[in-house]
């Protein structure tokens, strides 16, 4: 990757151009259903287990922090409310983002990069097939769908983990924990988190595909592409997360 300002601008420009191409190509028939299902299955299979394993300690850490904080403040009855809110609003989209980018995105980038340097992509273009339509669109859609589902998984596992740690390890009251669930959190929090996950999935897959399809310079180029795709995706995801959260607080009235 060139470090000159024009190089950086050119890369961002081509990345956005490809994102637009993906949007424009999305409605084109025939939809690559087979590729979509294969990719969705593939992304799901590389992310489900790590996601579950990451979200248990993530939910636990939040529960521990909030548990001790609420005890100091004498507000134990709110520990359930606070940990649900934290898991649902922030923890689950972030965990989803990390895993979609780290496990799904890298796999997509490495796969497309390897095809690129073996001239498979060129061969496909010569055979009159648009790789964006044939390969990228199904991957982007698959990654979006899986991200939304993963976000649900993380929420459930994270809340369950929080419950376990609060109730079993910190001697919280199960009834109070469950009863306070909806004092702060509301249904729109879940929708907002799912929307975030949808956008994160799209960004991760588009960046990974872009980096994969522009890989050059042999096997080392593929390694570099994967590395850069993870770094770029993380930066974009955290910025997007901040912006979406800020917008959410402006347009959705909060409880309490």
């Amino acid at each position: 990757m060139s470090l000159s300002p024009t190089g950086a601008l050119r890369h961002s420009g081509s990345l956005f151009a490809m994102a637009l191409d993906v949007l424009r190509t999305m409605p084109r028939r025939p939809f690559q259903l087979r590729e979509f299902i294969q990719q969705a299955w593939f992304v799901a299979s590389v992310t489900i287990l790590p996601t579950a394993l990451v979200s248990i300690p993530f939910g636990a850490v939040i529960a521990l922090q909030i548990g001790s904080l609420t005890r100091q403040l004498g507000a134990q009855s709110f520990s359930g409310a606070a940990s649900v809110l934290a898991v649902l609003r922030e923890a689950s989209p972030i965990v989803t983002a990390l895993l979609i980018a780290g496990a799904g995105g890298t796999a997509i980038c490495a796969d497309l990069g390897a095809r690129k340097i073996r001239e498979e992509i060129d061969a496909m273009q010569v055979l009159g097939i648009d790789p964006i339509h044939r390969l990228v669109v199904p991957r982007v859609l698959a990654s979006m769908v899986v991200a939304v589902l993963l976000n649900g998984l993380v929420s459930v596992v994270g809340v369950a983990g929080g419950y376990f740690f609060n109730v079993v390890l910190q001697d919280g009251t199960p009834g109070a924990y469950l009863a306070s669930f909806t004092t702060l959190a509301q249904l729109s929090d879940l929708w907002a988190a799912e929307l975030k996950a949808l956008v994160f999935g799209a960004i991760a897959a588009i960046v990974a595909s872009y980096k994969g399809l522009t890989a050059k310079g042999g096997p080392k180029g593929v390694g570099d592409a994967v590395n850069q795709s993870v770094v770029i995706t993380f930066m974009l995801l955290f910025v997007t997360n901040f912006v979406m959260t800020a917008v959410y607080f402006q347009i959705v009235p909060q409880r309490g």
């Binding site: 095809r115 061969a123 009159g128 648009d130």
Partner: protein
Amino acid sequence: MGVEICVEGLTKSFGHQVIWQDVSLTLPAGEVSVMLGPSGTGKSVFLKTLVGLLKPDRGSIRIAGQDITKLREHDLYEVRKLFGVLFQDGALFGSMNLYDNIAFPLREHTRKSESEIRRIVLEKMDMVGLIGAEEKLPGEISGGMRKRAGLARALVLDPEIILFDEPDSGLDPVRVAYLNQLIVDLNAQIDATFLIVTHDIASARQVPDNIGLLFRRELVMFGPREKLLTSDEPVVRQFLNGRMQGPIGMAEEKDAAQVEQELAQLGNGAHADSVSRTEMTPRLLPGPGITRPPRWQAIARREAELHPVHAWKGAGA
């Protein structure tokens, strides 16, 4: 019938490095042309520019009345359906077996039934001698087989233009001979326009109607085979005879004084050798059992006059 490709004033550079400039040539419809050049002179880049994978800096490429350098991406995909390209390593899709690889263009572009696809695929696999290897993955077979599979895939859509990127690299001489025969047979059968990029002199002497030579960032010469084989141009002579004396050096090019000295030495001593090799090599003709179209009948007649002994074998079949 093949399609004519008309290239004019084509220039390509990567950053400040000029690959070649002002390349103008016409690949006549239905004929076999070879593009020669030392390694690193941008032969593969030329091929990729012809199919629109790379955009040239200047110049035009007219195929079937359209300038493909000015086409939009979407129209480019339509024009590319005219092409069959054999990439250096075959460029097969690593995740599919050979059968699916070869069936891929048919499944994507046509509404043919599976049984019809099967018939076409097996016919092409038979043509390149790959029957029995349908279930193999590209990673499990030799480089020569990958090349032949790549060729079969390039052929399934009945292209008007076939481009070969170094069909002979990494193959043993016997397989190269078979491949050359296959190329000539194909040309007689399907009548497409062929362009072969290579640095194998033996193939270049036997196979094509036309030869071009890229060197020092430009097209040194392009014309009928006879013209180049008998040319006095130092670069052309050096390359077609595969000798060290001449303008082409190990790294890039030599200085003028050294070239003159070497050529003078060659004129005194090693003259006999170069004369014998510059002699016209007989052309490879379509094998027995291939019905020759009028163009090939004319070539065979001319060859019979030039090389009575050699042509006797071809005509007797």
